[in-house]
């Protein structure tokens, strides 16, 4: 489908800094922060709100009204907002019966119009087939057919909401039959559809540990201008295969190895807005702010390094 939407270019994105995925139990804490109430906890210092933003799972707001939407409006009035869809099933779009319903797209579109999020994202995965929604992000084989299907899904989604989206890399637990590398697969999808990329560094790390994917090579294959956002999160060992499989649980603090990979990603891609994800074993808001602030410091350090004049190195004759 020939899209009339402009290609995503990260230079034109206004989102900066670091954010947290927002949970209902933290609505009040987030609003207090915006209104200038800080506690002595490490996580909420006066500079804590500098370039702070929030992300929500789009489908959690598929309601007609009530406190959930009201809180989201109050947050959106005070902070930049990003929408992160988890059920678009972009990678099974061409299946019959169709997997993305008009109703689903209409709800996303309505929320986007109402709240004007700075970024909208989804996943390069699938989750719905034959009227069954599998409430997980299922992998796509990296084949031309799968790529065509994914591109059709991205085109349909972008057309419905009237703007480009970012697509996120999956966590790999096994390798399926493939015709290309994942970085090439995602870049091709982005180039064909005008979408951008959301690089989930935790997913990248887990794919490295589970399937020996090379993160450095992967990051160097990406066009930095296409990358609009970075995610970080925690992981756990699979209880059934604790020595062999790490799962993308979003239920633990960010691992040191993922922090290291975040720094590598920023050094290769340049500073990008970074989001801390936590969906399980959710701690107090201040604890999440502490992690968020660490991500923010990494970004600030990277920006400072980039601004320092490069020393000319001359060989002594």
């Amino acid at each position: 489908m020939q899209s009339h939407l402009a290609q995503f270019d990260s230079k034109q994105s206004t989102l900066t800094g670091a954010g947290i995925n927002l949970k209902p139990q933290h609505y009040e804490a987030a609003l207090l922060l915006a209104d200038g109430h800080f506690s002595a906890d490490a996580g909420s210092q006066p500079n804590a709100v500098s370039e702070l933003w929030f992300e929500v799972h789009t489908e959690n707001y598929f309601v007609q009204g009530g406190p959930r939407l009201r809180y989201l409006q109050e947050i959106a009035d005070r902070f930049p907002l990003s929408f992160h869809g988890v059920a678009g099933s972009l990678g099974s779009f061409n299946e019959k019966p169709a997997t993305i319903t008009t109703s689903h797209l209409a709800q996303v579109s309505s929320l986007v119009k109402r709240f004007s999020p700075v970024l909208v994202s989804e996943h390069a995965t699938w989750s719905t087939s034959q009227h069954a929604y599998f409430s997980d992000l299922l992998p796509l084989p990296r084949t031309q057919q799968a790529l065509n299907c994914l591109c059709d899904g991205i085109d349909r989604y972008q057309e419905a909401i009237g703007r480009t989206i970012l697509i996120e890399n999956p966590t790999n637990y096994l390798d399926f039959i493939s015709e290309m590398d994942e970085a090439d697969f995602l870049m091709e999808a982005a180039n064909r559809t005008g979408a951008g990329l959301l690089v989930d560094v935790n997913n990248l790390y887990l794919s490295y540990r589970n399937t020996a994917l090379n993160p450095q090579q992967y990051l160097e294959s990406l066009n930095p201008a296409k990358v609009g956002e970075i995610h970080i999160a925690g992981f756990d060992a699979d209880p059934n295969f604790p020595d062999d499989l790490l799962i993308d649980s979003h239920g633990a603090p960010v691992d040191e190895a993922v922090w290291d990979l975040l720094e590598t990603a920023i050094s290769i891609l340049g500073p990008k807005p970074v989001l801390l994800e936590r969906d399980d074993n959710v701690p107090e808001f201040s604890e999440l702010m502490t992690e968020r602030n660490r991500a923010y410091s990494i970004l600030m350090d990277s920006s400072r390094m980039a601004q320092q004049p490069q020393l000319a190195v001359t060989n002594a004759s």
Partner: protein
């Protein structure tokens, strides 16, 4: 017949079969490497865990009644029998859901969680005969919370209408979108509230006699309100919701109870923000 590994549709079907049955032979043929097929379980486990978690959120009082482990066991069986068919888990397991296809046609909902219990755990429901009531109360509460609670008729608007010479009985008035009337078979409403909101312990012994009664939930000031309804009030409210015709609803109520007083009830409904003016008449 071996799978066509170049076909994306065949891959999706093989994966779907695995997710729904655990049968992995076809899907395993799409694997490239020598990692154990058993690792595929991470996807199925993730799907079941997320779906069970949604059911725990949708039926929290039943979780308290049965305990986390037993509820998770029952919920897992429901997920296997009736996976979500809607790409959002809000309302997963609720009764009377309809799904909208890409062609905008409404399709009948799949088996609800309560229907699953009635069909597959009938012997458990003999021991807990009020479980259907608990399910319906949990559903009504959450549906009410997530509805639009901002459109309601106010006293000021009514006074303006009267001043303009409008006959209120001619206006299409109905109950607000967030309202839900729940018909119960046991006197469990108060106990449900105490259990749900932690006012009694989860091992509190429940002994109830059958007694048909009704409760209404609605949203006011972003909070869910609830009150028991008398039999005649329930008849009036259901008819008003269906017809948006106060005269008709009053007739039905009077047929049940000659002493029914619409003016008193109307004032109560107005004060409680339970009435709204319809823009379009409901389909007959």
């Amino acid at each position: 017949m071996p799978a066509d590994h170049s076909s994306h549709s065949e891959y999706l079907r093989a994966f779907q079969q695995f997710m729904q049955t655990g049968e992995k032979a076809q899907l395993a043929s799409f694997l490239e490497d020598s990692r154990p097929e058993a690792f595929l379980s991470v996807y199925r486990n993730g799907f079941i865990r997320a779906s069970v978690s949604a059911l725990e959120s949708n039926f929290p009082t039943l979780v308290k009644l049965w305990g986390d482990d037993y509820f998770a066991q029952v919920a897992g069986a429901y997920v296997n029998a009736t996976p979500p068919s809607n790409a959002t888990l809000i309302g997963y397991g609720f009764e009377n859901r309809t799904e909208q296809s890409v062609d905008d046609e409404l399709e009948p909902s799949t088996l609800s969680f309560l229907e699953f219990l009635q069909q597959h755990l009938a012997e458990v429901l003999v021991q807990f005969p009020y479980v259907p009531d608990i399910c319906r109360l949990d559903q009504a509460w959450l549906e009410s919370l997530n509805e639009n609670g901002e459109s309601f008729l106010t006293l000021e608007v009514v006074q303006d209408l009267i001043a303009q010479g409008e006959d209120l009985s001619e206006l299409p008035l109905t109950v607000v979108d967030s309202s839900r009337v729940v018909d119960l078979e046991f006197d469990i409403f108060e106990l449900w509230g105490q259990l749900r909101f932690g006012e009694i312990s989860e091992d509190h012994k429940i002994e109830l006699n059958p007694h048909q009664n009704s409760v209404i939930f609605w949203q006011m000031d972003l909070q869910v309100q609830a009150k028991p309804l008398s039999a005649v009030e329930a008849v009036f409210m259901k008819c008003l919701k269906q017809t948006a015709d106060i005269d008709e609803a009053t007739k039905q109520a009077l047929a049940m109870d000659e002493s029914f007083d619409i003016s008193t009830l109307f004032a109560e409904l107005l004060n409680a923000h339970l009435l709204q003016r319809l823009q379009k008449l409901p389909q007959k």
